[in-house]
Symmetry: C2
């Protein structure tokens, strides 16, 4: 396309929300003339579905739940006064609690002020706080955040070592909506032990964010933890960052939660409009549809040109893939939907995988995120008249051009700065885009049925481990013998055995040249 | 497939290197009977090409270079005594330098011991050191590593703030093979300024790792930097972690570089064997070929179940995508090759995107990485008879099973522990797999021609910025007017203008409802 035509196309497909400095450019996506018209019925349906969702419909039919994350930043939209009150009371509660912690009114046993926050959570209970903490953190933060987001004992030990003596002034925030997530429970139990080992009273450091009446809620109540904050069944984990899940760590860190919510509400207001070309969230959804033919045929590569946004793609990986990656559509047809998401940051990634983006398999579309402001304070010239930020911008524009010339499509989002307000706008934008896209392809974006299979299979592995362990004796036995004794799949037994041999000091593996002559025993 | 058949298949396709505890299981990849036989001619050709490469052939024909990263851990294989000597001398030099820094023999001006290492580098000059530092670091490290790996001024400021007063005892290691990488140069210039601002003499803190005679080499020589280490044209950036690029930061951090090299050499020895079924690297390459039909048709999802390996996928993203993502094959045909790589860690990712892997678009194959040892020291039971590590293992095995039952293929690599030796084996394994795969699909894995287009376009953007800036005056002008004055693409001019308005205090943007009535001016 000629420069003139591109300029025309740019003017036509460049959306601006001037009130908060947001722009979205979809001109370098090669959708054909008539695309918007063709998509109009689907888009209209998606706008209807979103309107119903925001009004309190059971938008998650499989779980019979409302989907209310938009109310979190605009409580006056909540479908009942009770929900509105809960949201507002929790917000106030979070702010008051953080203020009391900062002032020392709520302090560690002995009266020392809390200095560290150890967040124990996984998935939706960790990715939001991690992204926010990294995007907005400075050396002036009120408290320093640490995370346990797995069930890796070495990972736990590492964070405990990092905390070291500051464990005595660490506030532990355990986050689990269901209260039954095993990784989080293990993190909590190991943290409790780490406190005990140092003669510290865990309950006097502990805070829970969880559903009322959950297992975790009961533990926190019985042990007399410092505080409990609610999670509601109408907020999904991956969209919980504007509930206490995200707000509490943010407030403790000293970040501006009010601006964060205001930013999200501002983007919501703009993307609630049922006019596709004026609606940035619908434009994203339509572009995803166009790129992957409504079937996830292309990966979404996210390239923010700003160090502070390096975790944004990880956050979106969950938000998009867990929401869109579904086997069945709402009518029960097998559709195997999804969009794979990856990316880190520009221009760094230009020195990693952009070689493939430019020249290799054309199985993706790119989303550039431009942050217009380079740095606080005076510009600094790295050569006459040119700053590091000019280079950053040059690399973004240069890569966009190079991709386009190579036949690769991209969109560009531009924001003025990385602050709490703007991060709120970005999250709201993608939350809404995901919801709209789900309607375009007729799936439920708000459940995660596929996660259960892995959990069930894991439970079976743990049960088998106990069985195998108790079948071991001083007499060396083969995998087949042990499998027969346990009436179990020999391969599963073999994996349990090698795991036990590596971790249980009493289990021995006598290796041979092949699996068939391998033997296992246990010291009794 | 029945449990019995799966057990047979597992025994058939489970490769073990018992001498260092490595295993690779390809039994859950659904390649058909006869696959290995059908691939035999291609595999034989790949073994031949690798043998020639290791013997010093010009394996990177486009750039007329040898490809020598395997010599770095086995210098006696180098094709000339000169190369062997250079490798060995550099190793000794790195060790001696790190020892002198640790002992305080080489110290900061004023005699204080260096405590911090600030690595300035990007892509191949950062990802290796970052991966190693995170995988092997402990609170007992001799020095703490920091990185400048972009040209984001806010990102620079952030690291300088983090270093704060310790800048006075920071050793700066500037890494650039060509010596002309702009991001790295900007990082160096900004670091120099940060030192100057604090009254510190940068040259007395600075070390270069670069090609002899490069721009950086000249700067370092003229300014009298502490030390220069060589990079060679027969080592590519993405395979440079076993040259001074990776060894110097590692040695300064106090990690075991000798074990790292030994581990890589051990894997090299095992994967040099021209027998596909006994060669883990060839098995990986063949499985990539099978999964994506030799065309990158499936993404590679990497799931290490260990916090310390969370950066492994980022490291492999570069190694695989920059090597394999090529437009032309060795005969000049357009092939648009590549394999997209992403992933973080398990079981964390099970709470993010594994929903999509299990249920959604089947456009990937998974590689699990198991680390058999859970933690150092005594096992800790989170419930009777069960540890956090048992859960981690249960989730890995459970997810593998759930994926398989859902028709998704996976491989599983297992290593005994995360230490310098084992990390060396993993890197060597993937380096060789990438090289072999490149031969299977007949491409040059050792150049990156596609990166140039973006750089050139970026240079054009910077030149245009200067032109546009000098066209601005007190009188407000439209984008079209300024574009005409600069004889340039109005869209490119517009992007330059909004960037200038956000960063140059003298440039003004007078916004309107549309681009056409927008005006820009500058205070003269």
């Amino acid at each position: 396309m000629s420069t003139t035509l591109l300029w025309d196309r740019f003017r036509q497909y460049f959306l601006r929300y001037s009130d908060f400095g947001f722009t979205l450019d979809i001109s370098r996506m090669r959708f054909p003339d008539g695309f918007f018209e063709a998509m109009q019925p689907k888009a209209a349906h998606a706008f209807d579905a979103m309107r119903a969702l925001e009004a309190g419909a059971i938008a998650n039919p499989d779980e019979g739940r409302m989907v209310g994350h938009y109310w979190l930043r605009t409580p006056e939209l909540a479908p009942t006064p009770e929900i509105r009150n809960e949201i507002e009371a929790t917000r106030e509660d979070v702010a008051a609690f953080a203020a009391a912690v900062h002032s020392g009114k709520i302090a560690a046993p002995g009266g020392k002020a809390f200095t560290q926050v150890l967040v124990v959570g996984i998935g939706g209970s960790a990715l939001g706080p991690q992204f926010i903490a990294d995007a907005l953190g400075t050396t002036g933060d009120r408290m320093k955040l640490h995370f346990l987001d797995n069930t890796d004992p070495d990972g736990f030990d590492r964070v405990f070592a990092e905390l070291s003596d500051t464990l005595a002034t660490a506030l532990v925030v355990v986050i689990s909506k269901s209260g039954g997530t095993k990784e989080t429970r293990n993190g909590m139990v190991e943290t409790e032990a780490a406190f005990r080992d140092r003669g510290l009273d865990f309950a006097k450091h502990a805070v829970a964010v969880t559903g009322a009446g959950s297992e975790l809620d009961k533990v926190a109540t019985e042990a007399g933890w410092l505080k409990r904050f609610p999670m509601w069944d109408w907020v999904g984990g991956r969209t919980s960052v504007m509930s206490a899940v995200g707000l509490l760590p943010m407030a403790l860190q000293g970040l501006d939660t009010a601006a964060f919510l205001t930013g999200a509400a501002a983007m919501d207001a703009r993307t609630r409009v049922a006019d596709a070309k004026a609606n940035a969230a619908m434009l994203l959804a339509l572009m995803w549809y166009y790129a992957g033919d409504g079937k996830g045929g292309k990966d979404m590569v996210l390239l923010p040109y700003k160090d502070r946004l390096v975790l944004f793609s990880k956050y979106l990986q969950q938000l998009v893939m867990e929401s869109i990656g579904k086997k069945l559509d709402l009518d029960g047809n097998v559709v195997e939907q999804g969009i794979a998401v990856y990316g880190n940051k520009g221009s760094t990634d230009q020195h990693a995988y952009v070689q493939q983006l430019r020249d290799g398999v054309p199985n993706f579309f790119a989303t550039f995120v431009e942050v217009r402001k380079g740095r606080d304070g005076e510009p600094f010239a790295v050569e006459p008249g040119i700053t590091s930020a000019d280079y950053l911008q040059g690399f973004l524009r240069g890569t966009r051009t190079a991709l386009y010339e190579g036949g690769r499509d991209s969109m560009t989002i531009s924001i003025p700065d990385v602050n709490a307000f703007q991060v709120g706008t970005l999250i709201a934008l993608y939350e809404r885009a995901v919801g709209l896209y789900a309607s375009l392809v007729n799936i439920n974006a708000y459940h995660q049925p596929g996660v259960e299979a892995g959990k069930k299979a894991a439970t079976a592995v743990l049960a088998l481990q106990k069985k195998v362990r108790s079948s071991l004796s001083a007499e060396p036995k083969s995998v087949q013998e042990l499998a027969a004794a346990c009436e179990a799949d020999p391969e599963a037994v073999y994996h349990v055995l090698t795991h036990l041999a590596a971790n249980d000091p009493k289990v021995r593996q006598i290796s041979g040249a092949s699996l068939d002559i391998e033997r296992f025993s246990a010291i009794v």
